[in-house]
Symmetry: C2
Subunit: 474 residues, 2 copies
């Protein structure tokens, strides 16, 4: 059993499965110094951005090809030992933790851009390519890949967690943007799903079964995603509001009107203060919408005029524009650094991030009650949201050595998730279930649907070696 | 075994499973006159728009509720008898045929619009609601459901086949537009998948596993889909081109430029002639693009200007506009009636429809060689295409009593699919696999991926009673 730690009340107690020396020997024989059992390497692969402490994996294999992954999986399968895929380690929900022991397969060296098909608006990459690397690789084509979860995550990891982020309100999530995959199955076989055609009705949608499967059905080794023409015009603007409610109502109305806004982020006043300090900005210290408009110059102008009108009706300030690429980058970097700005605001703290998403009309209800609860708790927090999708994140900033603060944070999260579910929403908009949301998943999907997921898992991974103990208990 | 018919060379020979009288008795006890064994009713449910002849189902149950479906499935399961869901009967690939015998469950009476959530841009309907009925029900909200496969199909059937059609180039397919489902599983249990939230990372994407599963994993009973604000401005236009190539190159370029065109349909000169005759139109008898632009008045104007310029470069005629709703409806009705216009052009004929989809840059290659082959064959045909997605349909018009003509048509289809696959495409863009494309699916996806589909099927439907013998042989 795991040694009890401060956080084990959140991690189901399961057997750490034995990793026989014969497997380690076989991996070392196959991978030489690309199989490491050094404690520092194991520990680095035994944690992520979540706040769980579990023992590290028994070894780390640095895969450089699909064949490497297939061989590592086949060897682990022969010994019924878990395989945990690892990209850049940016998971927020404990996906990378070796809760049942096993071997971490690090795909970060699988970082080749395999094919840029600019004329088809697609690109095929290995799983370890990060989103920034991908965008650098396609820059000269005039195309871009919009999905942006903040972290410079690997495309493999983003596929496995069905990631999205700031641009999803216009361009969709990994669900909509992955066209095809190469996957190593639990037996070490290599299969392909999907094609580069934009649509298909050919059989079960295995692509979307793997997108969001969190490594529990196989290891994603190659991904083909859609690209988009870089917009002719881009403008970013901020607008400050007298209240969160006013900002949210403005957002709801622009979505209901069908404004094709590319990004609309809510930043609460706590976060504005933290960001100002961290990024040396002087944003007005009020709840704020940070927006971006993409399109032809005329379309950008029209969108902005519509939104300015809506904002005005809710007491929003005039837009402050960031029209040059440099100003835009500064603003979005500041937004993406909100987590670090928040962590800096309370030295030594850890953040527990929530991730609910609700139907857009219920966003104000869900958010305002949860803000009230968070304020009442006295726990410091920050609040940011991809509000155009009804998705937002509280980050509760807690002292990791104070179990009471953790309990307060978890209670707030429980209440928030219960509220989101009662409003027709989901317990996770983009981070995934991982370890943290297994209980919530049953509340959300129902026991029957979760049992169907388990049935699929058992059928495709009969030895339960693919990232076991994530999404649901097995 | 099936009695041999003219078409059985295309239908795998499988056992018609016995339907015990005890099951019929139990169904009659439960459903009274809503369970019919009248030959006329069975025959009506034993065919679709495909050209296969197989014996009809043993009985038809007219379900009026999810509980009806669940009970019918549970009874059939107790006797290991197949269940074939039936919507409006518009399948083109034999999905509705009782190839292994069994019970047809007709959901057309499950035609309630359950919830219009206009402020969230969603609607929840029973499976038997048709797309026109859905659009009538939401008309007063200023929203619409864009997916339009031509036929007034049921939303359940459209979900089950991952349908799309003319608007998909802008609004996506059923894959992108179904948010949540209620499904009766193979054991007669009722589960729900997804939520009304726009995005989620909560566990396996069961919604998209059922979308496109062609009734083989369960019966879809309720569907929540996305709606869109009715565009402020809509314009439709036709442009005639000196060649198919010119029309296709114009299309490829508009997609590569990112023009958000709502519809762009290719109609070849054969089809223009047939449509003119059938719909009493006087379209110029040349290859034609039929287009529709949605957006603000300015955006529609900009889009149209860009496309006109591209068309001109390829020798396209000036646009002929259809700006009033009546003119537009007349044009699109004519397009949707292309199949009937074609059938009328050769009295007594049957059409075999192809459905390949390729990456947009390969569309000209794929189409032009296939046109040449079709012309060389001497078989009459029509050709229409959702060319903005790289998807097109040949309809070969053959004498059903002439096996040679059928062989010619099937040979053309084989060559076309092989070409599409070699260009990175799919054997079916929107019709589904059904009976007709099982062999092609293996060519496209590979034996490993198809075996994974079978594994999922066996796990979720261990008695193989859900529409067996479709997608893959079992």
């Amino acid at each position: 059993m795991n040694a009890p730690t401060a956080f084990t009340h959140l991690v189901p107690e399961v057997l750490q499965r034995a990793v026989p020396p014969a497997l380690i020997d076989a991996l070392k024989a196959r991978f030489a110094d690309r199989c490491s059992t050094a404690m520092a390497v194991r520990e680095q692969h035994g944690r992520d951005e979540s706040s769980f402490d579990v023992p590290p994996p028994a070894a780390v294999v640095f895969a450089e090809s699909t064949a490497d992954v297939a061989d590592a999986v086949a060897l682990a399968s022969a010994h019924s030992v878990p395989i945990i895929p690892f990209g850049v380690g940016s998971s927020l929900e404990g996906h990378l933790l070796a809760v049942q022991g096993g071997i971490s397969v690090d795909v970060s060296r699988m970082n080749k851009v395999l094919a840029v098909n600019a004329e088809d608006l697609t690109v095929t990459v290995q799983a370890g390519v990060t989103r920034k690397q991908l965008n650098d690789a396609v820059k000269s084509t005039g195309l871009f890949f919009p999905i942006d979860p903040g972290a410079d995550a690997s495309i493999g990891g983003m596929s496995a967690t069905r990631a999205s982020g700031t641009n999803a309100v216009r361009y969709g999530t990994m669900r909509e943007n992955v066209l095809a995959l190469e996957v190593v199955t639990a037996s070490g076989e290599v299969i392909r799903t999907g094609t580069r055609a934009k649509k298909s009705s050919a059989g079960y949608d295995l692509t979307r079964l793997f997108v969001g499967s969190e490594g529990t059905l196989g290891v994603i080794t190659e991904i083909t995603v859609r690209l988009y023409p870089f917009p002719e015009a881009i403008s970013a603007a901020t607008s400050s509001f007298p209240s969160i409610e006013a900002a949210v109502l403005t957002t709801i109305e622009m979505i209901q009107l069908g404004v094709p806004i590319a990004r609309v982020e809510l930043i609460d006043v706590n976060t504005v203060r933290m960001v100002n300090k961290h990024s040396k900005l002087s944003l007005r210290e009020e709840p704020m919408l940070l927006m971006e408009f993409h399109g032809s110059p005329n379309s950008v102008k029209e969108q902005a005029e519509t939104v300015q009108e809506l904002a005005k009706e809710h007491g929003g300030q005039d837009f402050e524009w960031a029209s040059t690429p440099e100003e835009r980058t500064r603003l979005w970097t500041a937004r993406h650094n909100a987590l670090f700005a928040a962590l800096q605001s309370r030295p030594g703290c850890r953040a527990i991030s929530t991730d609910t998403c609700v139907p857009i009309s219920r966003l104000a209800d869900c958010l305002l009650e949860s803000v009230q609860e968070a304020d009442d708790s006295g726990l410091p927090y920050f609040l940011v949201g991809h509000v155009g999708d009804g998705n937002f994140h509280f980050g509760y900033l807690l002292d990791p050595n104070d179990p009471k603060e953790r309990d307060v944070a978890e209670t707030l999260n429980h209440k928030l998730v219960a509220r989101a579910l009662s409003l027709g929403g989901t317990c996770t908009g983009e981070h995934g279930v991982g370890l943290h949301k297994m209980g919530f998943l049953v509340d959300e999907a129902g026991a029957g649907a979760v049992e169907m997921m388990r049935t699929i898992k058992r059928a495709l991974d009969p030895k339960n070696i693919m990232n076991p103990g994530k999404i649901f208990s097995m």
